[in-house]
């Protein structure tokens, strides 16, 4: 990132997502799981999608995922990303089931370096003192 670029948007953690962002700060990906059905959900919510009214627990995810789709951004959608283009945006499917957005890092941003279905593992990118983003890289 260039020095005069405005800062990247920081998330604003909500009460139901504090555990998620705390985990990311510690280099861990945490998910909510329905206690009755064992289904995981992303993003964190104040209730279980699988069993509304049922109980949720927090579990550490394996960090394994596959690439569901991706794009390569050439025109920065915000000045904060001026120094980062081209960069890879993706939707990944976690081993536990849910999908989430992320950047694919550690690979040159060319279409031929990416294939849908490829195995990925989580890595963490610190963007500020308070926030670290889960990202993914080829496994």
């Amino acid at each position: 990132m260039t020095t005069d670029a405005p800062a990247r948007h920081e998330p604003v953690s909500q009460p139901e997502s504090d555990r998620y962002w705390e985990g990311a700060r510690n280099g861990e990906l945490w998910l909510q799981r329905d206690k009755a059905t064992g289904e995981h959900q992303f993003y964190p919510r104040a209730f279980s999608l699988a069993t509304p009214g049922g109980e949720l627990e927090w579990v550490k995810a394996s960090g394994n995922a596959t690439l569901h789709t991706f794009g390569i951004v050439h025109v920065p959608p915000h000045p904060a990303f001026m120094g980062e283009i081209p960069y890879i945006t993706a939707i990944v499917e976690l081993e536990e089931g849910p999908k989430m957005a992320a950047n694919i890092v550690g690979v040159d941003p060319e279409p031929e370096n990416l294939s849908i279905g490829m195995a990925l593992k989580v890595v963490f990118t610190k963007i500020s003192d308070d926030y670290t983003l889960p990202n993914f890289t080829p496994a």
Binding site: P11, G71, H74, P77
Partner: protein
């Protein structure tokens, strides 16, 4: 679930009696967004032979009806600021039918105005939303980034070359229509297949020519009862079917990146209207991107999943083709101020009235207008009939 029997009873009971754009559209640096709302509203009322004092229902998106109502100096008795992306104004037509037929109002005004190019205000981050936590920090900001990821998934499922050819066909055919519409931003600028393939990357797999314009523009629609429409200046374009819905907000949470909510709203609108795909003479399909058209035509049931490239092949959608799509030049080449949906209806009404000059279709009696909003999140579909 929607009650089709009750909806069918509403089919054709309401009509669009006025449509218009704001005075100038395209690059309009000296007009605010609210000025576009007001100009379009007054022009649409002129078109209908009505005045602001006739309006008792007000609908808008992007802005609150409080601001638009105050700016126009009207005191509506039915108000609806449903704002679910660029599809909203098509969805407002369903709400207008519901409000008018239930008795909450008799003449509904739907307004739109955005200075997409020239606005002095800049949108800030919407803090606290899931999107601001789980997508924005990754630079997944704005439609080109999210729609390009949906398109890449479609390519994976149905073939990259075949998809690319379809997108090129849509870009080129839409531009041909714009070259016949003097209000179009690209009225005097043709585009070839080479221009398409050589245009720069915005967000791969989207070329520049896969992406809609960013313009300044406003538009408005006036809806009333079929009975009252008979006394309006140009009669009424009957609203035979209308449907709406959404199934996610963020692109990463879309259930299936190749199946947007049009899979439901298309069939519902057609069922309500009691017509089938082959009855339609004009397809006005929100084209935020070439991909949006491709996937929307499939979702609406004009063909099966993955068959869209055959449907739009060989310039069938272009002037002279047997499957006319986006005859105004669309969001890709006519105008796209940010939330374009209302303009699909404006063009459909004009074609159904036979007012579109050089680009007028022969025997245009039935049209579908389909809006998509957010990150392929919401859709609104209407079926309209000639007066």
């Amino acid at each position: 679930m929607p009650n089709l029997n009750r909806l069918r009873a509403l089919s054709g009971q309401s009509a669009i009696v006025g449509v218009a754009e704001s005075d100038q559209i395209g690059n309009v640096p000296d007009k605010s967004p609210l000025a576009h709302h007001a100009e379009a509203a007054i022009n649409a009322l002129d078109d209908a032979g009505l005045s602001l004092s006739d309006i008792d229902g007000l609908m808008t998106a992007g802005w609150s009806t409080l601001d638009v109502g105050e700016y126009l100096g009207i005191h509506p008795r039915f108000t609806d600021s449903t704002s679910v992306g660029g599809s909203s104004f098509v969805i407002h037509i369903a709400h207008a039918i519901a409000a008018i037929q239930a008795g909450y109002c008799e003449v509904a005004l739907i307004t739109h105005g955005q200075a997409g190019r020239s606005d002095r205000a800049r949108a800030g981050a919407n803090l606290g939303t899931p999107q601001s936590q789980y997508e924005t920090p990754y630079g997944i900001i704005g439609p080109p980034v999210s729609y390009s990821m949906a398109c890449r998934r479609y390519m994976h499922q149905y073939g990259e070359d075949r998809t690319r050819e379809a997108m090129a066909n849509i870009a080129v055919s839409t531009r041909k229509w714009a070259n016949m519409n003097e209000k179009a931003y690209f009225y005097d600028r043709p585009a070839t297949f080479d221009d398409y393939h050589e245009s720069r990357w915005i967000s791969w797999p989207f070329h520049l020519l896969d992406c809609c314009l960013v313009t300044d523009a406003g538009a408005a629609i006036v809806v009333t009862t079929a009975e009252r429409a008979k006394d309006c200046a140009k009669g009424g374009v009957g609203i035979l079917g209308a449907a709406e819905g959404h199934d996610h907000s963020m692109i990463s949470q879309m259930p299936d990146l190749t199946r947007a909510f049009g899979r439901n709203t298309g069939q519902q609108a057609l069922d309500m209207a009691g017509v089938s795909h082959s009855d339609l003479d004009l397809m006005m399909i929100y084209d935020s991107f070439t991909y949006t058209v491709l996937v929307s035509l499939e979702n609406l049931g004009f063909c099966g999943p993955g068959e869209g490239p055959d449907l739009v092949a060989n310039q069938r959608t272009a002037p002279g083709g047997d499957f006319p799509v986006n005859t105004s030049g669309g969001g890709l080449s006519y105008t796209h101020p940010g939330m374009y949906g209302i303009f699909t209806v404006v063009e459909a009404v004009r074609q159904l009235r036979g007012e579109t000059g050089e680009r007028q279709l022969d025997d245009c009696n039935l049209a579908i207008a389909h809006g998509t909003g957010g990150q392929l999140s919401s859709t609104g579909t209407v079926i309209l009939a000639a007066p």
